[in-house]
Symmetry: C2
Subunit: 288 residues, 2 copies
């Protein structure tokens, strides 16, 4: 079976549970958004999947094989993160070659082409790059490796809007030319949303959403109107947040609406975008 299965994965540091029994699958040939607040456990999960740190319990299965200590399985996975630091004195071109030694056939044509588009001189040494260009370079390496599962942890850190736009376009083009799995962990939810097919939301070490982006957005609602009518209409719904502006109350809802329930004229229903949904799902509940 193709895909990466996370089976009962838990992780504790000291006595704190960082990840609590995660069970889900990254399916093959999809673009995923992996979303979570700072400290939610995203990076820990990525490091467990790529065998950089051990899970306290549970296991990761890659295309049917246990990944732990399994070089063949692990070579199918590539993680690009803050932790990929290369020696400062090495030229970028050389790093492509080093990467090929570990991961096999490197796509030099794609990498050279991307370097040109991003205006990145490959004769430079890694240590000379700005934060933005370091991340651009790591992204180019990630697209060049032949791995089937590419994890990108905050790939747009330090990039200006133009370079972020080019990065999203390049990822999309490369995915169409060679379908594989991308998992993008990012805080810039609004602008990455249009790239994603599936979305996994981690909150306090648990997966609280795992679904097709379209289905997820389909059941995300902003319901507004006078407090009395809105609270009546939403009384059996999954309300994830509330706001009030003057006489208008806005309730954020995730889940199915109640078709039986009468909708008064003064109440309006809109859909949320992914970033709004995420914020309301993961905000700590306050007493209303």
């Amino acid at each position: 079976m193709k895909g990466i299965q996370i089976q009962g994965v838990e992780k504790s540091f000291s006595k704190r549970k960082i990840l609590q029994e995660l069970d889900f699958t990254f399916e093959a040939h999809k673009i995923y958004g992996l979303l979570g607040r700072n400290g939610a456990g995203k990076s820990t999960l990525l490091n467990i999947i790529t065998d950089r740190i051990f899970a306290t319990s549970g296991q990761v299965i890659v295309d049917g094989e246990v990944a732990k200590n399994n070089d063949a399985a692990l070579s199918k996975i590539y993680l690009s993160s803050e932790m990929n630091a290369y020696p400062a004195s090495i030229r970028l071109e050389k790093i492509f070659k080093m990467t090929e030694l570990f991961y096999g056939d490197f796509d030099y044509t794609l990498a050279n082409n991307l370097a040109k588009q991003f205006d990145l001189d490959l004769q430079q040494k890694f240590g000379k790059l700005s934060t933005g260009y370091r991340n651009i370079f790591k992204f180019i390496v990630a697209l060049g490796v032949p791995a089937e599962y590419i994890f990108l942890d905050e790939p747009t850190l330090g990039l200006d809007a133009n370079h972020r736009d080019l990065l999203y376009q390049s990822l999309s083009t490369s995915y169409i030319e060679r379908p594989r799995t991308f998992v993008i962990a990012t805080h810039l939810i609004g602008e990455v949303a249009s790239l994603l097919e599936r979305v996994v939301v981690i909150d306090q070490g648990q997966v609280i959403i795992n679904g097709d982006l379209e289905d997820v957005l389909e059941q995300s609602y902003l319901i507004s109107g006078p407090e009395k009518e809105v609270s009546e209409y939403t009384k059996n719904l999954n309300v994830i947040g509330k706001e009030r502006l003057g006489k208008i109350s806005s309730y954020y809802v995730y889940g199915k609406l109640d078709d039986e329930c009468f909708l008064p004229d003064v109440v309006t229903i809109e859909h949320l975008d992914l970033q709004q949904l995420f914020i309301h799902l993961t905000n700590p509940r306050k007493e209303q």
Copy 2:
């Protein structure tokens, strides 16, 4: 006259011109977006305005007075940026008091309230904060000072979507309660846009846009259709970018449309959002 006037400001490092004769005004009681690519000169400009570095020529006038070496004028300006580093061992509460010594009346009520909302413990030492919380703390300090002109250089660096949302809301609320000038330099153009009244775009050391956001967006167009019709319709317009997808050409235009020109049915016109406009205005022109 209220406001900050930038008069003929130039800056060179070695022989490279970073800023080329800037002439414009930050008006009082407005929220500005200061937008530019990495390396465009934004931070250099902010450092000149706050007298942290010298201009090669030109001057900065604050409410009618030359700012250089003028403590009274400079105390009206507050810049929050990467450069505000506090000693690691100082508690956050203490930093409020230190700030008050320099800038006068500090708004402790607002600052304590914001700290609570952001879940930031003010008994902590500065050195213990994560990147995100460092920037949250600096933002709280910036809102607490009584200065009339607040410059925020990338205030959302390291913040997750929830905290960015809360930051934008807090800024907006504080601005309504005590109108003053905010200048926000940021790469997250899409999500900051709804806060802004005015926008200044710097490209390669020059101001290429300075206007009301509404007016700027009003003259930003995406014109799409078959290549022949689109290129004919736009031939006298200010085309800032072109894209092609299959048989459809999309031209990005900034400026007035030609009312005399016949618009064929097959050509559609939409408005751009600020981030799209920015990207196309500041992308290096390629041969088409």
